[in-house]
Amino acid sequence: MTNAILTGLMLGGMYALIAMGLTLQYGVARIMNLSYGEFLIAAAFTAHWLFTGWALSPFVGMAFVVPAAFAVNFAVYKLLLTPLVRRARTRDALEVDSILATFGLTFIVQGSMQSMFGGAYYSYSYLAFPVQVLGETLSANRLAALGITVVLGLALYLALTRTRAGTAIRAVAVDPAAAQLVAINVERTSALTFALGGALVAAAGVLVSTFLTFSASSGVVFTMKALIIVVMGGVGNILGCLIAGLLLGVSEALVASLVDPGLTLAVNFALFLAVLLVKPAGLFGRATR
């Protein structure tokens, strides 16, 4: 039981980590980013390349990957998405446009990874040793990932609630039109937030690569998981994201050890659907958009 809960927490931490970036991109910059998982895999590939080619620890590698991802995502927003944002008259229109555009982007990123790394599975061993916590054996890499998730989540939460820039970001999330009235540069804030989301997903990609096997075509799995968590927690809400991720992780682990591992994913989706039926805007979402 303790074991199941601990495992669940670690899994949930990974889910939350994967979803944090998307909740920023979607909640604040209003881009429903379908190519999100592809960027995660791209970061995983980079970490793998740095580790096997340059013997660079993934945690050191993060110092390169995360700023690079920030820059790339900033450029993607400026070049590809700004025209759509300017063109869109309503939020619905932007949603449809961003689904289409990022769907196209999915193919480009995935195709590039395929031509660079081929379609095979990739995996490497890092921090793969057992650690004793509360008398239970856990793997060090997953535990490290959980630790970094908590740190990132807390830092982000504090930055959003305690700093001026964070307040501006939240203002844009609530109402872009009104934010403009109080002299917030909405376009710039959105671009930076989108890039920040991209940086977070890159960090997630690096961490995930230390314990999961991935290939150029496995991005969509992460996009979907992230979307579900974001929506379940309430779009744009970091705290909701953390809780939804943990909820899914713990329920998955409990079902796997107490009921049947065959039902884990079904329970995940059922839980998600149930939350939406009771609270249509997610756990921490506002009822109206």
């Binding site: 495992t7 899994l11 395929q114 379609g119 095979a120 599975y121 796997a256 065959g262 994913l265």
Partner: protein
């Protein structure tokens, strides 16, 4: 408009090429057109990129370097037409129809995986092309071979796979090397379920105690709960009918949790070079599906050629890769024996002939081989076939598996 012009020119060019091609074939076979549709995108990509594609490319490269395939008294080079089936049954079927009717290829190489091979089966049968399925494991193989006499099921049936594994376990138990507690997990898709159903029956018939018997869905990202549960039961044998990502995850988790049964068996992916690269010394004693006669000179030579040809010097996997390459050798020898593009005669030749391949002499019975490698084991950094023990080149299984070491 620029686009219209280019499109028209492209059309013109292709018409020219088509007419030219027709004229050329009318005179003499200038090249042998071989087509395939393979998963370059989607969930099947990982398997196709390891097992199928490098072997197709290696074979074509080698045959063309030797001047081509011998038709009668002259050699004709192979010309390749290839598509992406996007891991999708509908696309795979359409691609085959396109290869047959548009490109009018002489021969077709099959896609990767059980599902897609079954999907293209009826079309290849209707059009009369030989279908050498080297990456499909299905219990219906004998029945399919009867239904579609042009189809050859080279990887065998899952019932056979499970039975061979259990036979090995029975022998080990008789030798007092293991006890009789078994924990079995399987992935919830066609392959895993077929194998676990057959395994369950064989294990119960052999009076093994099945302490744990569960399946997990595709895409499960943390298998720790399963391993922890299994560890608490302390079985003598751990069997996982798994796919590559979970094969790696299960092994990793077992090492972390210290699950070290006397027999540790995992599914697809155990035979991949990636597995050794990931686990190094810890592969020692791990059993898995597949295997090959690692000491045979033909296999050693094949391994070296594969490494030299594939991108990044990738090695073949130790199961279906060699079978895939052997299937291409069989096709080549059958075509050369017939001496012309006569598909019915080639099918006949494949059914009755004996072929010299990297996996040894192959003679099919009822469109299926008579020998398979079902259980392999990592020994000294190579994945040797250990069962069936009657196979040429079979090594003796090392039991109990050595303890995991720190990496």
């Amino acid at each position: 408009m620029g686009t219209t012009i280019t499109r028209r020119m492209a059309l013109l060019a292709s018409v020219c090429a088509a007419t030219f091609g027709l004229v050329a074939t009318a005179h003499a076979q200038a090249s042998l057109k071989i087509g395939y549709a393979i998963s370059r995108t989607g969930p099947n990509t990982g398997g196709a990129a390891v097992t199928t594609l490098p072997n197709y490319e290696l074979w074509v490269k080698e045959v063309n370097a030797a001047g081509g395939i011998k038709l009668g008294d002259k050699r004709v080079p192979i010309e390749i037409v290839q598509y992406d089936d996007r891991s999708n049954a509908e696309e795979a079927v359409r691609a085959i129809e396109r290869l047959v009717n548009q490109d009018k290829v002489d021969f077709i190489l099959p896609p990767w995986g059980t599902g897609l091979n079954l999907a293209v089966g009826p079309t290849l049968n209707r059009e009369g092309y030989p279908h050498l399925a080297a990456t499909a494991v299905t219990d219906r193989a004998p029945e399919l071979a009867k239904r579609w006499p042009n189809s050859f099921w080279l990887l065998g049936t899952s019932a056979d796979a499970a039975k061979t594994l259990v036979d090995l376990l029975v022998k080990l138990r008789d030798d007092k090397a293991i006890g009789d507690t078994v924990a079995m997990v399987s992935i919830a898709d066609g392959f895993g379920i077929d194998l676990s159903s057959a395994g369950r029956k064989a294990l119960t018939d052999a009076k093994f105690k099945l302490a744990y018997d569960k399946s997990y869905p595709i895409g499960t990202q943390d298998l720790a709960p399963i391993i922890n549960e299994v560890k608490a039961l302390n079985p003598d044998v751990f069997i996982a009918f798994s796919y590559p990502p979970d094969t790696l995850a299960l092994t990793e988790q077992s090492r972390i949790a210290g699950l070290n049964p006397k027999v540790f068996y995992t599914g697809v992916g155990t035979a991949f070079p990636l597995y050794r690269q990931r686990f190094g010394k810890n592969t020692e004693g791990v059993m898995g599906i597949g295997g090959w006669s690692g000491d045979s000179p033909a296999i050693k030579d094949y391994l070296a050629r594969h490494k030299a040809s594939a991108a990044n010097g990738a090695e073949p996997d130790r199961w279906a890769s060699a079978v895939t390459y052997a299937s291409l050798q069989m096709l080549q020898q059958a075509i050369e024996k017939v001496g012309k593009v006569d598909r019915a005669a080639v099918i006949k030749e494949l059914q009755t002939g004996t072929f010299d391949t990297v996996i040894g002499k192959v003679k099919l019975e009822n469109n299926m081989p008579t020998r398979y490698w079902w259980v392999g084991q990592w020994q000294d950094g190579e994945f040797y076939g250990v069962a069936p023990a009657a196979n040429e080149g079979a090594r003796k299984a090392v039991v109990p598996k050595p303890a995991w070491v720190a990496q």
